[in-house]
C-alpha cells in the first residue's frame, strides 16, 4: 500500500467511525553516516525510515496516534488509538484542522549535488578532516569524533479540509572533536558544520579552528570566586538563548510558565537587542515554508530594539489571544503533538568585533562554553548556574585559559544589562537553529577557588 492509498482509506474508515475532520502527517527520512577513527571507517550506517500520524476530531477533542508500519493493520490501530486518546482529554483550548494559507514561500532546502555524492567521496572528506587535525600539532592525542552524515527528509501534511503540502530538504552534518594532551592535562574542543554546499567546506580551516581552540585551553585553571565583567562568546550566548527561547512561546506564557507574561509591548531588554526568528533563511537549518499545522511561516521580530513585540504562536494559542498564528506550530516528529518552537532564531549582530570586545577590558572573563544547560538553567524564571570554560582577560589581552568555574546569573537580567553586541553571529543546533553574536555583559558571578 502506498501512502496516498493508505491516507484515503484511513479518512474513509475514520468518517464511518465518527471522526469529524482528520489529518495525516507523514515523514520519510534517509540517512548516511560514517565515523572515521585513526584513518579507518569506524562506523558506517545507512537508514531509510518514516512514520505516519493521524490526528482527528472525535466528539469535540483532537485524538492522536501514530504508526511506523504502513499496512492495513495500522489503519485500524490508528483510528482505535486516536479515539481512546481523544476520549480522555479535557483540554478546553480546542485544536483545529487548518484549511491552508493563501500562499507559501518557495524555499530551496534541497541540494541535488549533495544527494548524488558517493559514499566514497563522503568517507574521503571525513578522513581528510581527521588527518588535518593530527597534522596541526603533536599534542593532538585523538580525534574522538570525526563524523560525516548526510540526512534527507520529506514531510507531508494532508487533511480532510483540502490541505495538502509537502517539502523536502537535505543537509550534510560534519562533526569533529579533538582531544589534546600535554603531560596529564587533557583538553577537548569540537565543531559542528552544517551545509548543503560542500564546496564551501574546507577541512583544513575547520581542523585549524578546532585544534587551536583545544590547545588554547591547555594549562587552564580555576579562578578566584567573585563578580567579573563577562564577554559571553557567540556560541555560549546562543546556547543560553536556546534554553530560554521557550519563554517566547505563547503556550508557556498562557500557562504561567514564562516570566514574560504580561510584558508584551514593554521594554524587556537593552535597546541594542533585537531577536529575530526567520524560517526563510536560506542558510538556516530549521527553515520551513509551512509549520506542523500547515500554516505558512514568516519572519518575525520577537524583540525589537529591546521591546517585546510578539510571542511565537500556533493556531491554538493564537485563538486564545485573539491574534493570528505566527507559524510556529511544531512537532518533534510524527510521534508528537502540536507544540511551539523557534526555527532560525538569533540575536541581530552589532558592529563591534570580538577582538575589540576583548581589547576594551582591563579585567574580564571570556566565557566560550557553557555545560549542563538542561539541568543548571531554569527556563521558567531565567536563573542559571552553569559549569563554564573560557579565558581570563587582563589589560585588553587574553591572559590565560580558565576552567572548573561556574557562571551564575539570570537570562532576563543579561538582556537588560548587555553593554555591547558583537558582530560575530554564530549558530548552534538544538531544538531549532539558534544564533547569537558575542555579548559584553556588565558582570556575572563566577564560582571558582
Amino acid at each position: 500500500m502506498d501512502i496516498i492509498q493508505f491516507k484515503d482509506k484511513l479518512f474513509e474508515q475514520g468518517k464511518q467511525m465518527g471522526f469529524l475532520d482528520m489529518e495525516v502527517y507523514y515523514q520519510k527520512n534517509g540517512k548516511f553516516s560514517t565515523k572515521i577513527y585513526k584513518g579507518e571507517v569506524d562506523d558506517y550506517s545507512i537508514a531509510n525510515d518514516g512514520g505516519i500520524s493521524l490526528r482527528g476530531i472525535y466528539k469535540g477533542q483532537m485524538g492522536y496516534a501514530y504508526a511506523e508500519k504502513i499496512d492495513a493493520d495500522s489503519i485500524q490501530l490508528l483510528l482505535d488509538e486516536a479515539i481512546d486518546n481523544a476520549n480522555i482529554l479535557d483540554s478546553e483550548d480546542q485544536e483545529t484542522i487548518f484549511e491552508g494559507s493563501p500562499s507559501y514561500e518557495k524555499l530551496d532546502l534541497y541540494s541535488e549535488k549533495l544527494d548524488l555524492l558517493s559514499s566514497e567521496e563522503k568517507i574521503d572528506l571525513a578522513k581528510q578532516l581527521e588527518n588535518e587535525c593530527f597534522s596541526l600539532s603533536d599534542k593532538v592525542d585523538s580525534v574522538n569524533y570525526c563524523v560525516f552524515q548526510e540526512l534527507n527528509s520529506e514531510r507531508m501534511i494532508a487533511n480532510t479540509k483540502g490541505l495538502e503540502v509537502s517539502e523536502k530538504g537535505n543537509v550534510a552534518y560534519i562533526f569533529v572533536s579533538v582531544v589534546v594532551k600535554e603531560g596529564e592535562d587533557i583538553k577537548n574542543a569540537s565543531k559542528l558544520t552544517l551545509t548543503r554546499d560542500l564546496s564551501s567546506f574546507e577541512p583544513a580551516l575547520v581542523a585549524k579552528e578546532v585544534v587551536n581552540e583545544a590547545l588554547s585551553q591547555l594549562g587552564a585553571d580555576s579562578i578566584e570566586s567573585k563578580k567579573y565583567p563577562i564577554i559571553l562568546k557567540n556560541k555560549a550566548a546562543a546556547s543560553l538563548l536556546q534554553v530560554f527561547s521557550s519563554s517566547f512561546s505563547a503556550e508557556n506564557v498562557q500557562k504561567g510558565k514564562s516570566r514574560l507574561q504580561g510584558k508584551l509591548g514593554r521594554e524587556i531588554a537593552n535597546e541594542i537587542i533585537t531577536i529575530v526568528d526567520d524560517p526563510h533563511k536560506e542558510d538556516g537549518f530549521a527553515s520551513r515554508s509551512f509549520d506542523s499545522e500547515g500554516v505558512a511561516t514568516k519572519r518575525i521580530e520577537v524583540v525589537s530594539k529591546g521591546v517585546l513585540n510578539t510571542f511565537m504562536h500556533n493556531l491554538k494559542t493564537a485563538k486564545k489571544d485573539n491574534v493570528t498564528s505566527t507559524g510556529h506550530g511544531s512537532k518533534g516528529s510524527y510521534k508528537g503533538t502540536i507544540q511551539l518552537s523557534p526555527t532560525n532564531m538569533f540575536i541581530e549582530p552589532g558592529e563591534t568585533s570580538y577582538d575589540d570586545l576583548v581589547k576594551g577590558e582591563r579585567e574580564a572573563i571570556v566565557v566560550t562554553d557553557l555545560q549542563g544547560l538542561h539541568s543548571g538553567a531554569n527556563p521558567i524564571n531565567g536563573d542559571f548556574s552553569l559549569a563554564a570554560n573560557g579565558y581570563l582577560v587582563r589589560d585588553g589581552k587574553i591572559d590565560r585559559p580558565v576552567n572548573q568555574i561556574t557562571v551564575a546569573g539570570n537570562f532576563f537580567t543579561i538582556l537588560e544589562q548587555v553593554e555591547t553586541v558583537g558582530a560575530d553571529l554564530e549558530f548552534t543546533l538544538s531544538n531549532g537553529y539558534i544564533g547569537s553574536p558575542s555579548l559584553k555583559i556588565k558582570s556575572l558571578s563566577i564560582g571558582g577557588k
Binding site: Y37, E40, V41, D42, D43, Y44, S45, I46, N48, D49, Y64, A65, Y66, A67, E68, K69, S74, L77, E81, D84, A86, N87, I88, L89, D90, S91, S119, S142, N144, S177, V179, I186, N188, S222, S225, K227, G256, K257, R259, K335, G336, T337, Q371, G372, H374, S375, G376, I380, D383, S385, L386, A387, Q404, I405, T406, A408, S445, I446, G447, G448
Partner: protein, 462 residues
C-alpha cells in the same frame, strides 16, 4: 515478529561480501504517553514503533542499517546495500538457530495495553491533587505518564535466536511554587520494569508531596554560596554523579579506544577502600533491567570497582573484539534506529557502614545535596557538572538553612578519590541515559555519601 526464513535470508545477504558476523534486531513496541497540566489532561498520544536493524562486522569494522520496511524483497535490498560497505567475497556459513527460552526475571502483572486509559487518568489526577494541595504556594503541577511494551527478537550468524519483552511504566511529577515573581520547581520521576501494577505498589502520596515540598522549600531558600566545600550527596538519584563521571568511563566504548582514565587499569586502586561500584541488569523489575541485553546476551551482575580496586568494565560484542575479551551482557540501544553499544543498566555504589546521621554529624561545614538534578560530563576529560535540586548548608554537624541555584563541578575520577564516607542506606533512582546508542532507561543508585571537597557554584553575592 518476522519470519525465521526471512531472517535467515537477511543474514546470508549481509555476509555476501566478506562480513564475519551478522545480526538482525527486530523491534515491535507499543507506547502510550499522557500528560496533564493544571488538572486537565492536555495530551494523550499512543502508537506503535516497528523496525529492523541489520548489523555486519568484518573484524573491527561495523556496518549498521535500519528500516521500517517489512517486505522481504525490500529488506533484502537494504541488507545488500549495507553489505556493499564491506569489500570481500561471500562468507559461507551454516545457520543453525538455537532458540533460547527462559523464565523471565521480571514478571508483569497488568499489561498496560489491557488497562483502560481512564484508569491511567485516575492515577495521574490522583497524584496531581496530592501535589497541588500540598501547599497554597503551589501554583502549577504537571504530570506525565508513560508506559511501553517492547518486544524484541535478536538473531545472529552464530546461531543466536532470542526474544524478550520489556514492559516499563513511569510517572513524572513537576510542581511549581510561586511567591510574587519568584518561581521554583520540584520534580520526582519514579519508574520500573513493571506494568500498571507499579502504580498500585508505590506510595503516590510520597512522590506527589515530595515534588511539591522541594518546590516550596526552594522558594524560601537563599542563594547557594560558591567555593570548594565538603559535599554530602543523599542516596537514590544522588548516584547520577558517579553514573556520569565514572560509569561512562567504564564502558567499552570509551575503554577500548583508551579514551578513558580507567583504560588498562584492571587490578589498580582507582578509589578509596570504602567504594564498591556495581552494574546489575538482573535486579527484579528495576527500571534499567531486562532478561537479555540488545545483542541477546543474558543480563548479569558486573562488579566494576570492589573496595577501591578496578575489577571490570561494561562490554558489548564489538568492544569485546577490540579488547580481546568477552561481552558482559551490557549492550543496549534505544531502538532499532541505533546500533547497540556498551551501556549501564542499574548502576550503584554499594552500601557502606556509616549511618546518614553520622555523616551529617561529622561535617562541620559543607553542602548537603538532598536531591540532585541532571548534569553532563565530557567523556574525553571526565569533567562533569550537576545541578542540585534541593540543597542545604551543613553547619556544626547539623542540616541548617536550604540553599538554591547550586551546581557541582569537578572531574569524575578525582571526585571518586575524595569519597570519604559511605552510608548504609542504598537506594535506586530512575533516569534516562543518553549516549551514542540513544536514550535508554537506567537506574542510578547509592547510599548517602560524602565527598571531602567539590567545587560548588552558586549565585550568592561574595
Amino acid at each position: 515478529m518476522l519470519q525465521q526464513s526471512i531472517i535467515e535470508d537477511l543474514i546470508h545477504a549481509s555476509l555476501s561480501t566478506g562480513g564475519d558476523f551478522a545480526e538482525i534486531f527486530v523491534e515491535d513496541k507499543f507506547n502510550s504517553n499522557i500528560s496533564l497540566v493544571g488538572g486537565k489532561i492536555e495530551n494523550s498520544v499512543s502508537g506503535r514503533d516497528y523496525g529492523i536493524g541489520i548489523r555486519i562486522f568484518q573484524g573491527l569494522n561495523s556496518v549498521y542499517a535500519y528500516t521500517n520496511e517489512h517486505d522481504r524483497e525490500k529488506l533484502l535490498a537494504i541488507a545488500a546495500q549495507a553489505a556493499k560497505a564491506i569489500k570481500g567475497g561471500p562468507t559461507n556459513i551454516t545457520l543453525d538457530f538455537t532458540r533460547k527460552s527462559f523464565q523471565t526475571r521480571h514478571p508483569i502483572l497488568k499489561y498496560p495495553r489491557h488497562v483502560p486509559k481512564t484508569e491511567k487518568v485516575e492515577v495521574i489526577k490522583n497524584v496531581y491533587d496530592i501535589a497541588k494541595n500540598y501547599d497554597e504556594q503551589i501554583s502549577q503541577v504537571s504530570v506525565s505518564y508513560l508506559d511501553e511494551d517492547q518486544k524484541v527478537l535478536i538473531a545472529n550468524s552464530e546461531g543466536k535466536f532470542v526474544e524478550d519483552q520489556r514492559v516499563r511504566s513511569r510517572l513524572g511529577i513537576q510542581a511549581v511554587a510561586t511567591k510574587g515573581t519568584e518561581m521554583q520547581t520540584g520534580f520526582y520521576g519514579p519508574g520500573a520494569h513493571k506494568g500498571f501494577e507499579f502504580f498500585d505498589q508505590i506510595d503516590l502520596n510520597h512522590y506527589g508531596s515530595e515534588a511539591a515540598r522541594i518546590a516550596v522549600t526552594m522558594l524560601h531558600a537563599d542563594e547557594c554560596p560558591s567555593g570548594q566545600f565538603p559535599v554530602i550527596i543523599d542516596n537514590e538519584f544522588g548516584g547520577v554523579i558517579f553514573h556520569e563521571a565514572c560509569g561512562h568511563g567504564l564502558e567499552a566504548a570509551a575503554v577500548a579506544k583508551k579514551n578513558s582514565v580507567f583504560a588498562d587499569r584492571i587490578g589498580e586502586k582507582v578509589a578509596p577502600d570504602i567504594v564498591t561500584y556495581i552494574d546489575d541488569g538482573t535486579l527484579a523489575n528495576e527500571w534499567g533491567s531486562a532478561n537479555v541485553d540488545d545483542e541477546g546476551e543474558e543480563a548479569r551482575k558486573n562488579v566494576l570497582i570492589e573496595n577501591g580496586i578496578l575489577k571490570g568494565y561494561l562490554i558489548d560484542k564489538l568492544g569485546a573484539r577490540r579488547m580481546g575479551t568477552e561481552s558482559t551482557g551490557s549492550s543496549r540501544r534505544e531502538s532499532y534506529k541505533y546500533a547497540p553499544t556498551s551501556r549501564m543498566t542499574n548502576t550503584f555504589i554499594a552500601s557502606g557502614k556509616s549511618t546518614p546521621e553520622e555523616i551529617i554529624a561529622n561535617t562541620e561545614y559543607g553542602i548537603y545535596a538532598k536531591y540532585m538534578g541532571g548534569g553532563s560530563v565530557n567523556p574525553a576529560t571526565g569533567d562533569y557538572n550537576f545541578a542540585i535540586n534541593e540543597g542545604y548548608i551543613v553547619r556544626d554537624g547539623k542540616i541548617a538553612e536550604p540553599v538554591r541555584g547550586a551546581t557541582l563541578i569537578g572531574n569524575g575520577p578525582k571526585t571518586l578519590q575524595k569519597v570519604d564516607m559511605v552510608g548504609n542506606n542504598l537506594a535506586h533512582g530512575q533516569g534516562m541515559c543518553g549516549a551514542s546508542s540513544g536514550s535508554i532507561p537506567a537506574n542510578v543508585g547509592q547510599p548517602t555519601i560524602r565527598v571531602s571537597e567539590i567545587t560548588v557554584g552558586g549565585r550568592k553575592e561574595q
